[in-house]
């Protein structure tokens, strides 16, 4: 890796080499991750219903997603009449960008994240809110009533659930006394989920809602809105929304793992640095698995229930939790 980096650094400079390798590595891994997660989702859903799921393509259907991808790639790209063409085409691309930026912010190992930021957590919160703009762009530009409704629901939902996510992350910041994700991890001798179980639960609910996952999947509620914001998208453009959803799941799961489950920390992670990313991804995948488990267990919330749940329950509870955390920290400082 470092040899490749040196070679590239001579060609395009040190910064360019880091950028290229980091972005390439992250994109490559995230692509693999999507293929894996879609397969995993189908397996989880199948086994929750005591079915087998995909079994035919590859061992235990492992190559099924690749076959699906090839099928989607070969489909015709249809752009409906009277769409806002630029917005329509740009939305599936834009939905990716904040997710990839987020992925580069998560500290992977003892060394650092790919992109270090002294105020990493603030940037994470801001970036995760951008996805909704892409969703709304897709919904608005499609010139379709279902897509518009899905897009508007998505905006309302993300605005509502951003707040409890932020508040529960703030509780962690209060304990860690820093916004730097790397320092939050290195200060985390005991997973903060044990100090802050309520905040961890709220954060989990919040990221489930932010990724538009069931039981909060009303922006794409099939039974009411056809496909919601991606109704008019076909072929690979549709696949890009899927890509973004599953990438988002893993990345936000990893952010959650960083904040509450000790990030890259684990047994022997100090001695062998390569274990750091492994631990982080394992914890991230545990969070993702929990999200899938919840999806195949709970029914979808009605829209007013969803809003009531966020505004009347999650936000007050998160605020009280933050207050209690502050008071307790004043009484018994952790360090």
């Amino acid at each position: 890796m470092s040899a490749l980096h040196g070679l590239l650094a001579r060609l395009i400079g040190d910064f360019g080499a880091t950028l290229l390798l980091g972005a390439g590595g992250i994109l490559l891994y995230l692509t693999f991750n999507v293929l894996f997660l879609i397969w995993l989702e189908r397996k989880v859903s199948a086994h929750a219903q005591r079915r087998l799921g995909p079994m035919e393509v590859g061992p235990h259907g492992a190559l099924q997603t690749i076959a699906d991808m090839l099928k989607l790639l070969s489909k015709q790209l249809v752009t409906p009449l009277a769409t806002d063409r630029f917005t329509f085409l740009f939305a599936p691309i834009l939905i990716f960008i904040p997710t990839i930026c987020l992925a580069s912010l998560v500290p992977l190992g003892g060394a650092s994240a790919f992109a270090e930021m002294p105020n990493g957590l603030a940037v994470v919160v801001v970036l995760s809110g951008i996805t909704v703009i892409a969703i709304f762009m897709a919904g608005w530009s499609s010139n379709n009533k279902y897509a518009v409704l899905g897009g508007m629901r998505s905006v309302a939902q993300v605005v509502a659930y951003e707040i409890p996510v932020l508040l529960s992350a703030l509780a962690v910041v209060l304990i860690a006394q820093t916004l730097d994700l790397n320092e939050i991890v290195s200060g985390q001798h005991v997973p903060y989920a044990l100090y802050e179980p309520v905040a961890a639960l709220i954060f989990f609910i919040g990221i489930t809602a932010e990724t538009n996952r069931a039981p909060f999947d009303i922006p794409e509620a099939e039974s009411e809105l056809v496909g919601g914001f991606h109704t008019e998208y076909a072929g690979m453009r549709f696949a890009l929304f899927f890509f973004a959803e599953y990438t988002n799941m893993l990345v936000l799961g990893c952010v959650g793992a960083t904040l509450f489950l000790g990030g890259w920390k684990g047994p022997f992670a100090d001695r062998w640095p390569f274990l750091g990313p492994v631990y982080l991804l394992l914890k991230g995948y545990v969070v993702v698995f929990l999200m899938m488990w919840a999806r195949w267990t709970f029914p979808r919330l009605r829209f007013d229930q969803l809003m009531n749940f966020a505004w009347k329950l999650l936000i007050p509870v998160a605020l009280v939790n933050l207050l209690v955390t502050a008071i307790v920290l004043q009484a018994v400082p952790l360090r």
């Binding site: 989880v44 086994h47 929750a48 005591r50 079915r51 087998l52 079994m55 267990t297 709970f298 329950l313």
Partner: protein, 152 residues
């Protein structure tokens, strides 16, 4: 306090739900991978076929047409000859139009030699109506009673 109770009962019900799906996740799956695994359907009453008797190694259809007469759907088309030196007739043609058969089983009940039975086939399929006519003699090949023995 009622709000707190509602939150707690709600949370509990969510955990119960997760418990149910979680339990099912670790239980064995019930799916049968159909083309690779086939279910045991020996109790199944599939399309009518001729019985192979172990003593003779062949069927015992005497072309009496009892099945054809009792059949409510007129499925059968049977012809037979009496081979030289044999008291009973032997069927030379036994066609069953499965597209009209209702699997009522009257032919099985009426057969004087008990040479009809339900088979265990269950996934017969055809693209052409003509292909649904089953030749029940086909599995037996050349009838040993109809080829005159060269040496006694």
């Amino acid at each position: 306090m009622s709000l707190l109770r509602r939150i707690l009962t709600g949370l509990r019900s969510l955990l119960v739900g997760l418990g149910i799906t979680g339990r099912h996740m670790v239980r064995p799956v019930v799916t049968l991978q159909y083309p690779h695994e086939r279910p045991d359907v020996s109790h199944w009453g599939g399309p009518i076929e001729l019985v192979t008797f172990p003593e003779t190694g062949t069927h015992d259809c005497i072309a009496c047409n009892a099945c054809a007469r009792i059949c409510p759907s007129d499925c059968f088309d049977i012809e037979g000859v009496r081979p030289a030196g044999l008291k009973k007739m032997r069927a030379t043609k036994f066609l069953l139009d499965f597209s009209t058969c209702s699997l009522c089983g009257l032919c099985i009940d009426v057969c004087p030699t008990d040479t009809l039975k339900y088979s265990a086939h269950y996934d017969d399929a055809a693209y052409d109506r003509a292909l649904t006519v089953n030749d029940l003699l086909a599995p037996f090949g050349q009838d040993p009673y109809l080829t005159p023995a060269k040496t006694p």
